[in-house]
């Protein structure tokens, strides 16, 4: 599944640059949402690829790669659910 990605975005300079309504192409992301995170999850070598963290992440920011898993830190809020759910303690939370 392809996930939405961050697009380049120019902040409007004039009022007339703003759209009239609030409808747009689906999944059109122009801003990150991770400013409130104070700990970031790190996936370590103990990972057995059971995908529990992938399933439980409330923001859907853990994604599959060819070799295993990775985390989209632009949208990870640092809740630590992935750390709690991991059966192998393969995720550690690191202070930002």
């Amino acid at each position: 599944m392809s996930k939405p990605y961050l697009r380049p975005y120019q902040k409007p300079q004039k009022l007339s640059d703003y759209p009239l309504g609030t409808a747009s192409e689906a999944g059109y992301l122009v801003t990150k949402n991770c400013g409130w995170r104070n700990e970031r999850p790190i996936i370590m070598d103990e990972c057995i690829n059971c995908l529990q963290c992938y399933l439980y992440c409330p923001d859907g920011v853990i994604f599959k790669t060819k070799s295993g898993l990775d985390i989209d830190y632009d949208f990870c809020k640092g809740c630590g659910i992935c750390e709690k759910i991991c059966p192998k303690q393969a995720i550690k939370m690191e202070v930002e």
Partner: protein, 389 residues
Amino acid sequence: MTKAFLSGNEAFAEGVRLARPQVISIYPITPQTTVVERLSEMVENSSLKSELIHVESEHSALSCAIGASAMGARTFTATSSQGLLYMAECLHYASGGRFPIVMMNANRSTALPWNIYGDQRDSLSQLDCGWIQVYVEDAQESLDMALQGYHIAESPLVSTPVMVNLDGFVLTHTYETVEIPNQTDADRFLPPFQTKNKMSLDNPKNLAFSVGPDNNMEFKYLQHKAMLDSKRIIEETDKKFAEIFGRGYGGLTQGYRLEDADYILITLGSITGLCREVVDELRQNGEMVGLLKIRFLRPFPDEDLAAALGSVKAIGVLEKDISFGYEGTVYTNVNSVIAKNGLRLETYNFIAGLGGRDISRENIRAMFRHLQTGGQHVNFIGLGVSIDE
């Protein structure tokens, strides 16, 4: 043009028919029900070609109208009292999404105690939801404002929903002779709705995106600006209406015998007719009294009020509303115009007609006496018991 003997609700339904909305979402509530009953009959007998959607609540009725409007359809819905309050969340979605929906609201008291009769506390409690609010006086104005409502709402400069308020029962259910324009003239007045703010199968979109603190305030400023710009569009719409149909309402406010008036009563909605008669009676006795009907409460007619009240001694604001713990909301709004313009006059508030209490001719005479003698600022009119406990 034909003439018919219609209730306020029935007249409004005729206005909606002439506006040819493509989608009508309905959920009945007293005293609004007969307007949607009439519309469903019109759809049934094919005098109105529209998608009539019977929904399960007022929240759904307005949500449905928002969805239809987002596809570029002209849409209509109607409500009253608790129904309007149940829609409260969607009211902001409609105005923020800039969907030019027209909605009729039958002004009715709010619970508790439960009551189905008229007062204006339902719509006045929703003054800040970003809708244009107009209050009509009689059945003819009801029909006419259904048509004018779309003309104002759909103006590209405005793109803001319009709520047309009819006093419950005293206007929604009383009968008058009403002129029904013909469809050709109505079409000449109100061309089909066109907008760029819409989705289509070729151009699918997500509805209602999020905007964070870095841009959100600009969207709110734009809503405010559109509402201010709508003042001009409201005046122009009324002029165009008068050119085609031979009657107009004067835009944001309508004055009566304001010339040389020292004491002015400010009114809203259907009580205006009786107040006008009392003004005539008092003028015959040589009293310098006049009347100013506020038609639009949002946008607020501050320039009109400042101009009309420049050389007046005292004004009274008569409203079927109380903001508990302070005063009537219309009174607060009027006083802010007076303060901003440095006008020197006394102002009084007459809270009347709550829960459908009658406002009598003698009550109105007493209000004018109060303006002349002075006294308490905020007054409850027609309380059945003494409050000097």
